[in-house]
Amino acid sequence: MSETGIGASVKRLEDYRFLTGRGTYTDDINQPGQTHAYILRSPHAHATINSIDTSAAAAAPGVVAIFTGADMEVGSLPCGWQIHNKDGSPMAEPGHPPLAQGKVRHVGDQVAVVIAETLAQARSAAELIEVDYSELPAVVDMNKALAGGTLVHDDVADNLCYDWELGDEGEVDKAIAGAHHVTEIDIVNNRLIPNAMEPRAAIGSFDRATGEYTLYTTSQNPHVIRLLMGAFVLQIPEHKLRIVAPDVGGGFGSKIYHYAEEAIVTWAAPKVGRPIKWTADRSESFITDAHGRDHITNVKLALDESGKFLALKVNTKANMGAYLSTFATCVPTYLYATLLAGVYTTPVIYAGVKAIFTNTTPVDAYRGAGRPEASYLIERVVDRAAREMGIPQDEIRRKNFIPRDAFPYQTPVALEYDSGDYEATLNSAMKNADVDGFAARKAASEAKGKLRGLGYSTYVEACGIAPSAVVGSLGARAGLFESANVRVNPTGSVTIFTGSHSHGQGHETTFAQLVSETLGLPLDQVEISHGDTNKVAFGMGTYGSRSLAVGGEAMMKAMNKIIDKSKKIAAHVLEAAEADIEFKDGKFTVAGTDKEMTFGEVALTAYVPHNFPHDTLEPGLEEQAFYDPMNFTYPGGCHIVEVEVDPDTGVVKVDRVTASDDVGRVINPMIVAGQTHGGLAQGIGQALLEGCIYDDNGQLLTGSYMDYTMPRADDLPNFSTSNEVTLCAHNSLGVKGVGETGAIGSPPAVINAIVDALSGLGVTDISMPATPQKVWQAIQGAKAAAE
């Protein structure tokens, strides 16, 4: 292994600028002549707009322009995935105007934009806008929404976006009816607010000389924004629209989507003739960044007398919020129900999913997206079944694992897992968690009046999103390939243009390691360029843990083309047959001789082609590749969490977190560990701290950091993470993806640990987030029931 190639813990190349305060995030950019936008938002969850009077505001100091929905009649913010109902009809797909058209449907819905010389002036002027609303009843609860009455969209009956299913319900019901034991739980997967620490921002500008629009935006996928906004919302052709996503301060899914503000500042820029900057304040982030999760599910697991799983049935209601965000519809279907086999051989599975509109912020993919919801219900129902049947937690899992020699394994829910070894990750997690020492630790806790519990979660996910053919057949309106362009500069350095986007993942390092390994170059000869549609040919961006498995593979493909072309050049210069040229350690050698050219010499020759045979050898050394994967990738593993509960206060202390994950080949172990840590923190946050709460009128009660509990440094322990490796069977690097595993595997481990701690009192369930109040009440309830 080289010190800079695959498998090395190379220090992150991007870190110097971040550590010295020299990162360039969207809000750090100011353009000459820039104006500032403030968005006037609906204070009501549901209301008709009778009139908007902007006259006083327009006369306020510094105001440049004010626009409302009446001015901005453009295309709808599009949804990228069409789901079909059980009966084959398409889902309900109501419009989503960037500025409200006569009606507002959630608190924070955009009503008007004020553009002024300063942000303070824009904000002050917005207070002078008189909006005459007629407030309507709001519908927040999914069950009430399904009952009809109040409609979020007049033309969507019962607020039902779609009623979708996967699997044979009759067959599953039959298996359940004949089973020795059935475990049933009602599960809530709590709604979360992503809270990337960088608020969203956008700067729109228009160059009248060239007719080119430029949008700087906090996006995980600038080309996708160019396509969606250009083609569907504003009708700007792609060659006149440049999108730049510079340094981006975290995304976690919330910066995938095309948001109204991006369209507003771009659309308005030529109208005011100056650049327009908008930056969300944190309150706006809370009410307008797409939220995550928010499922309610009934799950039944049928088992035979030995504890072998016979069937799994789930019925899920999934909250879409007030409008369909870009990928919202695929989250509770193809990213969720297709994972319901988990790591087990359950032979028959049925999922029924109803997606429902409510007067709340749109919900979309958030770190894990559908897969955390699947793993949570599976691992909760397995935990419960094991308790009911008196089977140890590791044993019930081993009994039902897909064996390591069964891959490729076709699940009953459409996916074919290519590789995995769930015994290996369970064994290593149990060893690293010192499960053998748990009894002694539990006794020590009891001696001081505390309760201790151990929780397991064994999970699999599908990422590396995704094969275009597969997602296309499932309703995706886009392909999900990735592109890479490898430019070898005349003096031998390499610039790689990738369609993946880094917003914390460390791509500038991991991708450079691929180049170093493949082309034999030192890291300082490699530059990774991303995030600018005028530099990168095309890209589908970064989400679904796809950057390495899809974007990295595109790079490998392009680099192999570079090697092929270089061999042609070397063969010509060294007067040898192309087939005799070997490439190793950055040198092209004629096999069996000492004749060689360095990579740099080949590069220079490519650009100084004084004697190239022009009919067979082109000058230059630059290659483009697109890579579309054969299958999803399937990281999996085991998370074990140990908690100590104070029965007097209900406070849960997370004492040990152990994760053993199989993410395929690891390129940079230090970066992989960091990605795992971040996912674990978000998973533990969901399980213990975070919960988005609306009141019955659709007002967000958890709209600030005083109300929405983010995991802080004193809430978490250090983590034990390790990797077991089975290689992905269908990509050249053998990589699977690590961005989401922590958030997918950990929540059920936390809750199972709390249930374990409280099981002696008779507690069988606790819902997320397991706040001290909830835990204390569960303890009191169990005590009362026992008396």
Binding site: G21, D27, G250, H503, M670
Partner: protein, 159 residues
């Protein structure tokens, strides 16, 4: 409304600026002085991304007025390295990869430096408690805490 003339010292350099009475120190640093290392993560003092020190005291610059800085010494992330030589905390953050997207990193470094000035030998629990005012959504804090503890040890050895 007339602007206020402020004379202050930022990262050791005497600096003068005019600011509006209601303008925060964060906005002055970012928009008037182009020191964009401090970030606005919340504007309410809950996230610590805007952390700077005023006369050695750790503050949220989003809750401090620009006018208050008159006659004070301000230290920001931009002044933490000695030229190209990173501060031990910055060096340890690099070695541990104690950052991901980088947006909270300046605030966390400023806060950690303030901790080690007050308490050169913090326990892990003390470090976690001190840094609980700084939100990071990427790292889960594990590597941050390890890097701070490692830097503290190195700084003690060097002193």
């Amino acid at each position: 409304m007339s602007q206020i003339h402020v004379t202050t010292k930022i990262n050791g350099d005497t600096t003068e600026y005019l600011c509006d009475p209601e303008e925060t120190l964060l906005d002055v640093l970012r928009d008037r002085l182009a020191l964009t290392g401090a970030k606005e993560g919340c504007g309410t003092g809950d996230c610590g991304a805007c952390s700077v020190t005023v006369d050695g005291r750790l503050v949220c610059s989003c809750l401090t007025l620009g006018a208050e800085a008159d006659g004070c010494e301000i230290d920001t992330i931009e002044g933490m390295a000695d030229g190209e030589k990173l501060h031990p905390l910055q060096q340890k953050f690099l070695e541990h990869a104690a950052l991901q997207c980088g947006i909270c990193t300046p605030g966390i470094l400023v806060a950690a430096k303030s901790l080690l000035e007050k308490n050169p030998s913090p326990t892990e629990e003390e470090a976690r408690y001190w840094l609980a005012g700084n939100l990071c959504r990427c790292t889960g804090y594990d590597k941050i805490i390890r890097a701070v503890m490692d830097a503290a040890e190195e700084m003690r050895r060097a002193s």
